[in-house]
């Protein structure tokens, strides 16, 4: 079995439907890359650490959406609900139980996963537009419920004053946000590794099969419902962790964290980067948030115009997302180089 040059280019970006994740035989190569990107960002922009941390937590959220949409093929405009649930859970946990951060992450993730299980069980019996509508309805209901539950969530005012104890009891969160950023980056890298393992497992392959052709998979003996639900729960789990991370690093949680706008923005970030590759989620988030940072300072409406135009352009010109477009170009260059080499 020969591996062509195409294959190595594909795995370089950690992409391809079955991410094998080794570059030149180095284990954890994608995770090391990711950590390197994060660390160099910190090196180059030491004064913008809160912004960088927001990028990290958002990237984790968009990754969780990639699991649901890119790998399981479930179109949802209500994913933010799971993020928000995790955020509020971790925030309330920190305030009322203990401010230990790692268990807070687990609490957030668990709540996100449980809500995903409960709602997904109902949701995934439907398809297409109906399913989409229900994701929106469920998110709205959860938002209203949390809104009314003032004692725990603070309602309209949001939850504030979330304290974070030192990690492992030793590493204190510093005022400049360095520890916060590194903590978030570590969580992101760890979760990325877990997700990568998940999507290149037999379960992941089955979900990809379901996404591509449900009828075919049913004819192979796979229960579409059970697998979709499992992936939806996985998405909820990681979304919850992302929310918890946000709660811990910004120390406030608002109702916007469950809102439709946040769900839509995550969708845009994912699509810009490209779904079904995990890396698309990362690049899409970085691109979106960086542009947002500069554009919305000028004029919120101009920002919306840019994003709107980008979306229309992506759908009409690059239906597979920008990462795929770049990747295809990279593959073409690699093929051209190897052809040239052969002719020498």
């Amino acid at each position: 079995m020969t591996t062509s040059h195409n294959d190595s280019t594909v795995s370089l970006l950690g992409a391809g439907h079955v991410a094998r994740g080794r570059i030149g035989g180095v284990p954890f190569a994608p995770e090391i890359c990711l950590a390197a990107i994060g660390l160099s960002a910190m090196w180059f922009m030491p004064g913008d650490l809160s912004f960088l941390t927001r990028i990290v937590t958002s990237a984790l959220f968009v990754l969780s959406l990639d699991l649901v949409l890119g790998y399981a093929g479930i179109v949802t405009l209500g994913h933010a609900a799971l993020f928000g649930v995790g955020a509020y859970a971790a925030g309330a946990y920190a305030i009322h139980v203990t401010a230990e951060p790692l268990s807070g992450l687990l609490v957030g993730g668990l709540c996100g996963g449980l809500v995903a299980l409960a709602t997904g069980a109902v949701l995934l019996r439907t398809h297409g537009l109906t399913c989409l509508m229900m994701t929106i309805a469920i998110a709205q209901i959860l938002l209203e419920v949390l809104n009314k539950w003032r004692s725990v969530t603070g309602g309209d005012d949001g939850l504030s004053g979330i304290i974070v104890e030192p990690i492992f009891g030793v590493i204190e969160f510093d005022f400049f946000g360095r520890v916060g950023f590194l903590y978030s980056l570590a969580v992101l890298v760890l979760c990325f590794w877990l997700m990568r393992r998940l999507v290149s497992s037999p379960f992941g392959l089955t979900c990809i099969g379901i996404r591509e052709d449900r009828r075919r998979m049913t004819a192979l003996g796979a229960s579409v419902y059970k697998h979709s639900l499992a992936m939806y729960v996985a998405g909820g789990l990681f979304a919850g962790i992302a929310g918890a991370l946000m709660a811990q690093t910004t120390q406030v949680v608002g109702l916007g964290s469950l809102g439709f706008t946040w769900s839509a923005e995550a969708l845009v970030m994912l699509v810009l980067g490209g779904m079904g590759h995990l890396w698309g989620a990362i690049f899409g988030t970085i691109l979106f948030m960086v542009v947002h940072h500069f554009a919305s300072a000028i004029d919120p409406f101009k920002w919306m115009f840019v994003i709107g135009a980008l979306l229309v352009a992506v759908v009409l010109l690059f239906p597979d997302g920008l990462v795929q477009a770049i990747r295809k170009q990279a593959v073409r260059w690699a093929a051209r180089r190897s052809n040239r080499r052969r002719h020498d």
């Binding site: 109902v122 019996r125 919306m304 135009a309 979306l311 239906p319």
Partner: protein
């Protein structure tokens, strides 16, 4: 008793507005099978154009409203030809993304031109009065809205059952391929259907400005509302939209009166329950 009647009247008016705005979306979604999240932009444009044109040319509100509705209908034509046509048959996700993009562009355009505040629609004098029906005073405007809603329903019924165009639409909704085989120019039908839907939305936006205030973020704010009506009523069904709008409108109004805390939860719960029971909506068909 008075409370019940109040709920019914207000719910009816609210439902009628929702119907007029949403019916166009139901028609186009049933017709072209395109998920169009940007439908609210047409409603919003109706109101904004009416004010812009009316004040610019010093027109009476009725005139301005009529021109605005026609203008929005006309605007829908190039939109369909240049953009929507490209995503027929593509995945739901692609259509969602495209139309969200259009929503953002629409919001940005209106926000840049008109600024980020609520827009007041001028009412003609005779609609500013109120009618006293004993226990309660009803604004003329509400009655006008209910009348308009019924007129739209009847008008559409007439259009779909008695005119050639209407029959062509129903055939195209039912089975596009068969319709084409019969010689129906489905692209033309789609285009006209889309324009009709947009014009109706504009009308709804204008009439409903009191209940659904006009502002640049209008399409996003009321997106879920409109989609809910279409989903619950069933895509492509005018009567379905009518029933769904009335039911959901009345439920939410009742909740606002009786249990204001959970008014919007009731709306979405009703929607969830109906969709769980009948995933294609009350009157929808298996596509």
């Amino acid at each position: 008793m008075e409370l019940l009647l109040s709920i019914l009247i207000d719910g009816l008016a609210y439902g009628m507005i929702l119907f007029i705005i949403s019916v166009g979306l139901s028609i186009t979604m049933g017709l072209m099978r395109v998920v169009n999240l940007a439908h609210g932009v047409f409603a919003m444009l109706g109101g904004f154009l009416m004010v812009a044109v009316g004040s610019r040319f010093g027109l009476r509100p009725e005139m301005a409203a009529m021109l605005a509705v026609i203008a929005v209908g006309a605007l829908a034509l190039p939109l369909e030809k240049l953009i929507f046509r490209r995503v027929y048959g593509r995945s739901e996700l692609q259509q969602v993304l495209l139309t969200i993009g259009l929503v953002f562009i629409g919001i940005a355009a209106v926000g840049t031109v008109f600024g980020n505040s609520l827009l007041a629609i001028p009412l003609p004098e005779y609609l500013k009065r109120s009618v006293d029906i004993g226990f309660r005073v009803i604004p003329m405007h509400r009655l006008a809205v209910v009348t308009a809603g019924l007129a739209v329903l009847v008008g559409l019924w007439f259009l779909f059952t008695k005119t050639r165009f209407g029959i062509n639409i129903r055939a195209s909704v039912d089975k596009a391929a068969a319709a084409e085989a019969l010689g129906i120019d489905t692209s033309k039908v789609y285009r006209l259907g889309f324009m009709l839907g947009a014009a109706l939305a504009a009308l709804g936006g204008i009439l409903g400005a009191e209940l659904l205030p006009l502002e640049p973020y209008y399409p996003l704010k009321y997106l879920v509302l409109v989609l809910a009506i279409v989903a619950v009523g069933g895509m492509g069904s005018v009567f379905g939209s009518f029933m769904a709008a009335l039911v959901l409108g009345t439920v939410e109004t009742a909740a606002k009166y009786l249990m204001p805390e959970i008014a919007s939860i009731m709306f979405y719960l009703t929607m969830l329950v109906v969709l769980s029971w009948r995933p294609h909506g009350l009157f929808g068909r298996q596509l």
